[in-house]
């Protein structure tokens, strides 16, 4: 017997990848510098920060939620890490505290949304402002610098010629892919996004799933914040501003449905690559940054429109 879902499912999923390959081909034709090992690693490094945030965002969006606060979580958790190191503590301890604080901020989002029954958009819009405000309070509006050398390795180091941020991104991808695909928690995420009531009546603790999902998003945001801080060698109070938008765009470009229940994390990786390559390629082609925005927005719109037209029977 034929697989009723299988065929159209695969086609649907390959769409973003085909788009990515097309963009690569076009850019290669127009600029011979594009497809070089150096530049590809460069792109990967640029993509890694957004990809990490977008991975967490994928979990959130799969449950039918949204997390607008990731940019502010980046800023606040980075500020904590930087502040501790500037005050003389070791980088390992500082990183630990930073990741913990980011996860906790996500947990707060989750609790407000699950227990307080606040719409995710509103809840995270509010915490976005709160976390940003706390960052400004903590840093007094000034960048924090002065880190040990080892800390710089996280964002600027290499392992076998591969930039460290790329390693972090791939490790996170692997772990999250497995969680989403092979664990019962992953299954609960999809079920919750598809039909919350049926999932709850099936004995799934839906509140717990929600809290976990936002915690994961917070954790990944703080990780990307640490990489960012390491790369810039300073923690900026305005770091991460509007990063949530690129993350959401990557998730949607990857084919995950904003209404929840449908999608996959590999798509998000492809989506983040598309955004990163567009940025990089348009730079190489000397397109002005004003036009770059127009092109980027246009591509997002086009991708979503194509996706829609495929969904029909």
């Amino acid at each position: 017997m034929a697989k009723v879902q299988g065929k159209s499912g695969i086609l649907q999923r390959m769409g973003p990848l085909v788009g990515l390959i097309l963009i690569v081909i076009i850019l290669t034709i127009f600029n011979s510098d594009f497809l070089t090992v150096g530049n590809i690693f460069n792109v990967f490094r640029q993509v890694s920060i957004n990809a990490l945030i977008a991975f967490g965002m994928t979990f959130v969006i799969l449950t039918g939620g949204i997390d607008l606060s990731v940019g502010s979580i980046i800023a606040l958790s980075s500020a904590f890490v930087a502040g501790m190191m500037a005050a003389g503590s070791g980088s390992m301890l500082a990183i630990g505290v930073g990741v913990l604080s980011g996860t906790l901020m996500g947990t707060i989002n989750g609790v407000v949304i699950a227990r307080g029954k606040v719409a995710p958009f509103i809840a995270t819009l509010a915490t976005m402002t709160i976390f940003r405000g706390l960052t400004l309070v903590y840093t007094e509006g000034k960048p924090i610098t002065g880190f040990p050398d080892t800390f710089g390795q996280i964002g600027r180091g290499y392992l076998f010629d591969i930039p460290m941020p790329v390693i972090w991104m791939l490790v996170a991808f692997g772990v999250l892919y497995v969680i989403l695909k092979f664990t019962s928690f992953g299954r609960h995420v999809f079920a919750l996004g598809g039909n919350e009531e049926a999932t709850r009546l099936s004995g799934v603790n839906t509140n717990r799933v929600k809290v976990l999902v936002y915690s994961i998003s917070g954790l990944l945001a703080s990780l990307s914040g640490i990489i960012l801080t390491s790369r810039l060698n300073s923690a900026q109070p305005t770091a991460g501003t509007s990063y949530e938008l690129d993350a959401i765009a990557a998730v949607v470009l990857g084919g995950t449905s904003l209404s929840g229940g449908k999608g996959w994390i590999a798509g998000t990786l492809v989506g983040a690559m598309i955004i990163g390559i567009l940025d990089n390629g348009l730079n190489l082609l000397n397109v002005s940054s004003f036009y770059q925005q127009v092109v980027k927005g246009g591509v997002i719109l086009l991708a979503v429109l194509l996706d829609r037209s495929k969904g029909k029977q």
Binding site: Q5, S184, R187
Partner: protein, 498 residues
Amino acid sequence: MTDLLTMKGINKSFSGVKVLEDVQFSLRQGEVHALMGENGAGKSTLMKILSGIYSKDAGSIQIHGKESVASSPKTAQALGVAIIHQELNMIPDLSIIENMFLGREFKWGRTGFVNWPRMRSEAKNYLQQLGMELNPDIRAGELSVGQQQMVEIAKALSMQAKILVLDEPTAALTKREIEKLFQLIANLKTQGVGMIYISHRMEEIFQISDRITVLRDGRYIGTRDTDVTTMDELVQMMVGREIKERFPKVEKEIGAECLRVEGLEQEGKLYDINLSVRAGEILGIAGLMGAGRSELAKALFGVGKYQGKIFVNGRAVSIKNPQEAIKAGLALITEDRKGEGLVSDLSVRENLALPNLRSLSRFGFISHRMEQKFVEDSIKKLNVKVHHPGQWVSSLSGGNQQKVVIGKWLATQPNVLILDEPTRGVDIGAKREIYDLMNQLVQKGVAIVMISSELPEVLGMSDRVLVMHEGRITGEFLRENATQETIMIAATGGKNHG
């Protein structure tokens, strides 16, 4: 005179799987033409083609002798075709009025401003024709399944169609609503409306139809005039074999008390509910729509706060959420399979596994092998018609979806199984399979609470019957003493005990 509607040589496949093959169907003016067949026979698909939701692969559709292809529900409306779907399609956050006139709102002239007074009065009017005294401004989400079904019917009426398709309209309705609906159908007949009526209930089909067409496995089997055919002939046509005994009886032992409820109350919904069920017993709960039966089932399953005591196997338990209910050994098969029973974006496999993931995983990781085996076993045991377990559950026929809902709970091995309208939309063969399954379970010592609006089913399957009215228990009967009449008296508020 030409027929109102002629469909000929209709073919349809989904991803290479044939679900309709050379199907024909015709409809005259003022006729009720019943469409019958087992779950998955292709009835709903044929009607979805007629109403522009699916496109046909081949064949011709003529309305008034003119080739007419509805390419969307909107063009179907323009062609005079209205359909009441098997699955409810209300938008819960919109009011009844908004749902009824969605996409065809009345305007003030050409201004584009919505003419609320006119819509309100029209909505009231159609609801009244169905005997519904509902405030049309309330949110659809607040309505019970049966009420939503009535609103869907009112909506179809308001389209003033020439061809009206009713896909299992009575599955969620109680006797009184059904009578109203039948009066209305008789009315529409005199106005020349042709109606296509899909139902698994033989009694209804014989009561209101003029002709009956039977499909089996996507093929046309035949058409009979209702007054010359018999139930046996139809069953033979539908399943290709005979089915004896609609309600099978088995030898079983009624054992110790499994579930006892004392003084259960839920604000505004349930008052002083006392009941007990014993191992091996089937307790039927009858009542009219809105009597609080589903609320009772849900309260027992930890939905909403309650006062009162619940005992499982003699032990007092507090059930604050579904997880605790499952832990206590309860399982609930809800009446609203689309809203509460299934996750339609997931596959058959994932739906079946959902309440069983704990036992199918090790350290949080789902064992692919165990899941696969579990799913194949469930599909086989319940005889679910699927092309592939990875198929979206929403692409199954209604009756097969119901089997998936039942299947996902059986594996949790409950002590007490609560079934809310377990055979809604299920064909006669599958009904019998579900009854057999219930009997197997009680023989193993499971206690069953069965809520049903089909009185023959309540009388045929239960050992004891409770009747509810406005959130209270108003009658209790042993199977031997219960009759349709005594139950109806209790269900309408008259107190009596048998």
